[in-house]
Symmetry: C2
Subunit: 230 residues, 2 copies
Amino acid sequence: MAKADFSPIADTTRRAEIVALLRRAILTGQLAPGQKLNELRISEQMRVSRAPLREAMRELVQEGILTSIPYAGTFVIEVTAKDIDDAYSFNKVMDELAIERAWPLRDQRFFDELDRRHEAVKQATRALDTTRQIETALQLHGLIYEWADNSVLLETWQRLTSRLQMYFALHQHARNEPVPAEDVHETYVRLLKGKDMRAAQCHAREHIDLDFEELLAYARGLEQRPSRGA
Amino acid sequence: MAKADFSPIADTTRRAEIVALLRRAILTGQLAPGQKLNELRISEQMRVSRAPLREAMRELVQEGILTSIPYAGTFVIEVTAKDIDDAYSFNKVMDELAIERAWPLRDQRFFDELDRRHEAVKQATRALDTTRQIETALQLHGLIYEWADNSVLLETWQRLTSRLQMYFALHQHARNEPVPAEDVHETYVRLLKGKDMRAAQCHAREHIDLDFEELLAYARGLEQRPSRGA
DNA sequence: TCTTGTTAGATTGTCGACAATCTGCTTGTC
DNA sequence: GACAAGCAGATTGTCGACAATCTAACAAGA
């Protein structure tokens, strides 16, 4: 008898689809930080009633990318330099932990998946698809968390990912220049395949540094901007 | 002119109150793990309609203490030994980080607040109020996170706190014996006031160990139990 | 007996309408 | 002109009812 392991079927509620749509809109920068989400207008655009839309918004508030003020509205979170700095410095420590935990669990499947995700980043880079490039880079980075075999650690990473993706998207939008053609993840992947865990941890820390330094400079620049979107 | 700093007024939506009520019911063990939440029944008991109740439930799902299956229902999360182990090992690392970050920021206000929270634990212990004892102990523990000046770190701790409180409450319910009269936090507080950061970090790690070891043993005991609540 | 199709009941998901609240403008008064 | 009161208009919060889906019991057939 053939063993077939089926994955759970997709959630087919409107709410789940609305969550995905809104999240995408926020993380790609279609909805600017500070912008208010008008329930009636959005529900009409999506052709749904306000009930599932509001439930979806509650989820995104808890996810940390929306913020809600009773009787005033729900807004895309503002981004301050300190927010980015906090996320950055937290991420550094988390990365060290994740690599440490995932290290002894690496196997052929890990390496294959690593290559697959690396390839996805390179493809997005070649296609000049900046949104997808950010997305795939974070997925590549997230592999060590998936492999660390700690549900709390993974969940924390996933929450953080939302905001990181938003930050990087903002940055890209702001400077509005083509993505770097070079492969900045080459060393990261190579070290994760190697034998020196310390080296991998150090590189991860510095590699993150590079990306974040630019991001921080950008964020400091737009500090104290009103930024109520259209 | 006198400077008056007002705190924001309380959220006066039904949703916020429902969230608080449900969270309390879960964290104190009034709602058992795995138990299904019947929307109609709860909404009638609370004298509210299902709309704000459902929104509240969505928040708690994102908070990680409820889980939802479309068209099947919303349930209190199950607790496995691995969940507790994951939370425990994650917490150890986070604690070290929080102490490191909070250490240079300690001041008189920190020490005063430390004493205040320590006192609250001792009072709950004397009153044999186990629920409040767990709550205050976590608040005492949370001070280093509030002082670490990192929003992401603090938020992660707060999310974790919900589940920790639930785990400890379950444990207390299960063994159903009076709380220890001795003051287990004495050393922790003393070290946080001292000059040796490493010592404080080590103690935090071992201190957590003590509590968790018992908890883990308990969790391993009830593994593979069906546990669908009444 | 086991499997499959059907049906009734209960529960969740969604909708449209009403109530509560906020915002900005207008009006009147000093 | 400055300021407070009051009045629309718009928006959020809440409600009750309907539609979609699941579960479990039951009947029919191999």
